[in-house]
């Protein structure tokens, strides 16, 4: 009877492997080649791309910047998403309206919204600085100052993807059983203690999954950076994914960008495995 179990797993697994196997193997092979704009094809350059990569300080700096950006935005998204989910969880006026509204940013196409955001951050023609000045504050050099440009890119990411966290956490909240809350009330626990002893542990498993998926997606950030800052000023918003794009499709160094991607893939798998393990240890089984 358990033999049927393969009927469930294999169609999907085989389909996925069939689609992804060739591109993956091909990429590994290309990473050892000198495929570029002038020499297309699978020449053999040994580990040249990899030794060049090891010495490529721009790549490693971009990778460091990416981890700050990805971890930063995902944590902020998580906290905000959690707060918003708690706020519209129970009694709130126009609850359903706010729930729909809070989901909407996730529905938009990043490459198009980035253009809209670029116009919003535009320091002469955009609407944001006039509002800030209206509040009596000085205008902000949104895209022309290294730190602010980084903040602006993060803001757009937070706008777009907080709904992802919000949805998963709200769904989690709505599925929590009510008994532990009764027990907590009988114990005389205040709202803060109830949150940490009942609500948060109940959502820990969801939180881990959501954070890991968002880290994967946030690390691929490309359109936002490309449209808003092109990695500038200087290299202050250049992330690894954007750098791979520049090397791969702008410079057309196909071989080198494949090597960059393979290393990126390895680093991400290792990092995500560690992060997931740590999250599970600290979130899912906290001291009761």
């Amino acid at each position: 009877m358990y033999r049927q179990k393969y009927l469930f797993l294999t169609p999907g697994l085989i389909a996925l492997v069939a689609i992804i196997l060739f591109p993956l193997l091909f990429t590994i092979r290309v990473s050892f080649s000198g495929w570029d704009v002038y020499n297309p094809g699978l020449s053999w350059k040994g580990g040249q791309n990899f030794s060049r990569l090891m010495a490529d300080s721009r790549y490693w700096a971009a990778l460091g910047r990416l981890s700050v950006m990805a971890v930063g935005t995902v944590l902020i998204q998580y906290v905000l998403g959690f707060a918003l989910a708690l706020l519209v969880w129970r009694d709130v006026i126009a609850r359903r309206f706010f729930r729909v509204l809070f989901l909407v940013p996730m529905m938009t196409t990043p490459v198009i919204m980035s253009v809209i955001w670029r116009t919003i951050f535009h320091e002469s023609l955009g609407p944001l600085n006039p509002i800030i000045r209206g509040l009596g504050l000085p205008g902000v050099p949104w895209l022309s100052d290294p730190v602010w440009a980084f903040v602006a890119v993060m803001l757009v990411e937070i706008w777009q993807w907080t709904p992802f966290m919000f949805l998963l956490l709200l769904a989690g909240l709505l599925s929590l059983p009510s008994e532990p809350y009764l027990a907590a009330r009988i114990d005389g626990a205040g709202p803060v203690r109830t949150f940490f002893s009942v609500t948060f542990p109940g959502l820990a498993a969801i939180s881990v999954g959501a954070i890991v998926i968002r880290l994967i997606e946030a690390s691929k950030i490309l359109d936002t950076v490309y449209v808003m800052t092109s990695g500038g000023p200087g290299e202050s918003t250049e992330t690894a994914s954007y750098y791979i794009y520049i090397r791969g499709l702008r410079d057309f160094q196909i071989g080198y960008s494949a090597a960059l991607s393979i290393i990126y893939l390895v680093i991400m798998i290792v990092a995500l495995t560690i992060i997931a393990k740590l999250l599970v240890r600290f979130l899912v089984r906290p001291a009761p």
């Binding site: 000198g34 570029d36 704009v37 002038y38 020499n39 297309p40 721009r58 951050f121 535009h122 320091e123 002469s124 023609l125 600085n129 205008g139 050099p141 949104w142 895209l143 022309s144 290294p146 440009a149 490309y226 800052t229 092109s230 990695g231 500038g232 000023p233 200087g234 290299e235 202050s236 520049i246 499709l249 702008r250 410079d251 057309f252 160094q253």
Partner: protein, 517 residues
């Protein structure tokens, strides 16, 4: 074989056209009135006139075209594709691609041998990369009136190893534009003289440019209640900033008496980007940041166009777009702007002597950059139809009409385009502006000292490396000298990877254009 048949067919068409008025005057009465059906003033007889194309029958065949996004070049492509389909019965598919993705959209099918597109529109800058994949323009088309009329400069741009590979349909170059109403205003002149002790004239050197920009930055000089600024330049790293930078460098580094390469020493293939002329240009570029509008250090071409074209800034330099935007019919600063040649320098680096030379007159090289162009893919099964389309796109009637729509981005490239009267009559520019426009463009075309784009394999790598270095200097994370030293190192590595001989052979084409005079 087929091409011979086609050529003889073409010859027949030309012959019969020429013969028509004599042989059968009554036939003219049956010719449709194309000027009534299409947005042209009159059909101009020729190999690819509306009438000649109307006589072709391509029904049942499909033409695939890749072009730039709408509107620049993309919109006229779509317009003429629809006309071509209507006249010949062919199915014409057009895809519009933003500049940033155009290269890979064309290159991936090229490198993998996929015949994806028949006709292609792209910046002529990429000829060094694309030349192995393009079909040469057949003789019949090279002998058309429109082609014969190309200026020598744009014929040179279309040519690669003595073969014409590009079908020219646009001419581009960098020049400077400024607010003539402010420069001519006595109050402004007095104010400038008081602050600098010098008369306010359009800048002839980059030092003057920066000085004027600084004086006219941060206050409301046009009285609209909004602060104004000195200069709008393309500064966004992976936009077209490298082009702006080359404009700023040319005056210092392109010595009229030195031949044999501007980007590289053609003999040794040693990069010249970190020589003193380039470094000085970068220093001036960095210094100008103080006179840019808010956000001006992250301006893409679109921002530059809106900033100068919208009346926010006093001066700007790049392609025609910002000037044309300012000259639109509904523009508040229409006919208050003037074009002129790029500023230059009285101090010019001579790499042969290793010394700065002082010039009495500023050295102001012309920079012939970019230029949209078109070509037919060598792998296309429809080369006959594709060339007919490009020839039709660029026929005299269409070109005349396209040049009247600013957003189309079709700019002068034929001898006949340098007539001031056209801009006066058709576009409503003042005689002064029309004259200055024609003279500026003509001046670049005839300038004996010119810079062309680095049209070699891997130009994308060279330029993105250059832009990254310049951006580091602009952000202050490296000095101009350090930044350009790093760029030179990267350029050497690229030359090693692609092959010094390959790049030299390609670069020789560029140097030949520069050293032709």
């Amino acid at each position: 074989m087929t091409s011979r048949i086609r050529n003889s067919l073409l010859a027949t068409t030309v012959l019969s056209l020429a013969a028509l008025p004599v042989a059968a005057p009554s036939a003219w009465a049956e010719t449709p009135d194309y000027a009534a059906m299409y947005p042209i003033s009159a059909d101009v007889p020729g190999v690819c006139s509306f009438e000649a194309i109307d006589a072709r029958d391509y029904s049942g065949r499909t033409l695939n075209i890749i072009t730039h996004a709408i509107p620049v070049i993309g919109e006229p492509t779509a317009l003429h594709a629809a006309q071509f389909a209507e006249l010949t019965g062919a199915t014409v598919n057009v895809v519009h691609v933003p500049f940033g993705d155009l290269f890979q959209r064309i290159m991936i099918p090229f490198q993998t041998g996929q015949a994806a597109y028949d006709a292609l529109f792209f910046p002529s800058l990429w000829l060094g990369d694309f030349n192995p994949y393009l079909a040469p323009v057949p003789e019949a088309y090279r002998e058309t009136q429109g082609m014969q009329d190309l200026t020598a400069t744009y014929r040179g741009v279309a040519t690669w190893n003595n073969e014409m590979l590009l079908y020219t349909m646009d001419g581009d170059r960098h020049y400077m534009k400024y607010r003539a109403d402010i420069f001519d205003n006595p109050d402004m002149q007095a104010r400038f003289e008081q602050e600098t002790g010098r008369a306010l004239t359009p800048p002839a050197t980059w030092e003057e440019y920066n000085e004027i920009a600084a004086v006219f930055s941060g206050w409301d000089w046009d009285g609209d209640g909004q602060p104004n600024f000195g200069t709008a330049e393309v500064t966004q790293r992976d936009d077209l900033m490298f082009s702006a930078f080359i404009s700023r460098v040319a005056g210092y580094a392109k010595n009229p008496d030195v031949t044999g390469g501007f980007f590289f020493d053609l003999e040794t293939m040693e990069p010249l980007v970190n020589t003193p002329g380039w470094v000085r240009g970068l220093e001036m570029f960095v210094a100008a940041q103080a006179s840019m509008p808010p956000g001006g250090t992250n301006f893409g071409l679109g921002d530059e166009i809106f900033s100068f074209g919208g009346g926010q800034t006093l001066m700007s330099y790049s392609w025609d777009d910002a000037f044309i935007q300012a000259q639109q019919e509904d523009s508040p600063i229409r006919n208050s702007v003037m074009p002129t040649a790029l500023p230059g320098s009285t101090e010019v680096w001579n790499r042969n002597t290793g010394e700065w030379e002082t010039f009495a007159e500023p050295n102001r090289p012309g920079y012939v950059t970019w230029g949209w162009t078109s070509a037919v893919a060598g792998s296309s099964q429809n080369q006959d139809m594709a060339f007919d389309f490009l020839c039709f796109f660029a026929n005299e009637a269409n070109t005349e009409s396209d040049m009247q729509v600013g957003r189309y981005g079709v700019n002068p490239y034929r001898e006949s385009h340098f007539e001031a009267a056209f801009y006066e009559d058709e576009l409503g520019w003042t005689p002064e502006v029309s004259q200055a426009y024609v003279e500026t463009l003509r001046g670049i075309d005839e300038n004996p000292n010119r810079v062309f784009d680095l049209r070699v394999p891997g130009v994308g790598e060279f330029m993105s490396s250059l832009a990254a270095g310049v951006a580091r200097a602009q952000a202050g994370t490296a000095t101009p000298q350090q930044a350009l030293d790093d760029v030179a190192d990267e350029w050497r590595a690229i030359v090693d990877r692609i092959g010094a001989d390959t790049i030299r052979a390609a670069y020789a084409n560029v140097v030949a254009l520069e050293d032709a005079r």
